[in-house]
Subunit: 132 residues, 2 copies
Amino acid sequence: MATQTAAQRREQARRDYDAFLRGCPTNQLLDRISDKWVSLVVSALAAGPMRYSDLGRKIAGVSPKMLTQTLRSLERDGILSRTVTPSVPVRVDYELTPLGHSLALLLTAVKDWAETHIEQVHQARERYDGDN
Amino acid sequence: MATQTAAQRREQARRDYDAFLRGCPTNQLLDRISDKWVSLVVSALAAGPMRYSDLGRKIAGVSPKMLTQTLRSLERDGILSRTVTPSVPVRVDYELTPLGHSLALLLTAVKDWAETHIEQVHQARERYDGDN
DNA sequence: CGGAATCCTCCTTGATACTG
DNA sequence: CAGTATCAAGGAGGATTCCG
């Protein structure tokens, strides 16, 4: 059995690390909230329940596929609840769970940091782009 | 002229919305911190300055390309500073700026939320996957 | 109305190899 | 040591179409 090559060792390390990252709560959460549409859906629902098509209209530019996909994954994670009213036509309401409201609070903290510091970031970028 | 199709209207809306999102501080921040390697680099540097290859070793599994790309973008945003010591061989140190340390604090808040609530998320998933 | 299934196209990621 | 250049692949996201 030959010694591992450097490439094989790197690949092994990468695999281990990927496994670690998948198990890391922080990265799981970051993956979730950084999804393009998640923060928009959560903040839209923070104000109160909404129907599928209301969300689609409020979050202009989202395709039905991505909206459904986003809502499903958030439902699966217990962030929001989905209620079907079997009228004709069908009516489906989405609403934040307590866990979802808690997440909305965290997103508010993120938003506050962003709004407080974004100007510093922009200034840093101008400096960086100007100098280089 | 012809009526726009639904897709065309949505594309226009999507374009407008993309522009809005690019200008939205919260989404800019989420884009930044959700990058696979950013949180790892920031938390690694939160403990103190490190050299390029130290980071590469500490964050196992990152390729030189991604490490450089991550470091450059964080430097551009004023999150960390890059110091070259022109010795032989060259020595390059990376260190968080005050802004970077502030960001590290936010990441700590995210981490705390994640560790506090991840169990609820996992339970919700099991319930969802079990029921379905 | 509220989706599901399919196809297709970028864009990011990462491997590999080379340089000052 | 600290990167850069190039290339290939996979997956995320969008368009389109159809169903209950």
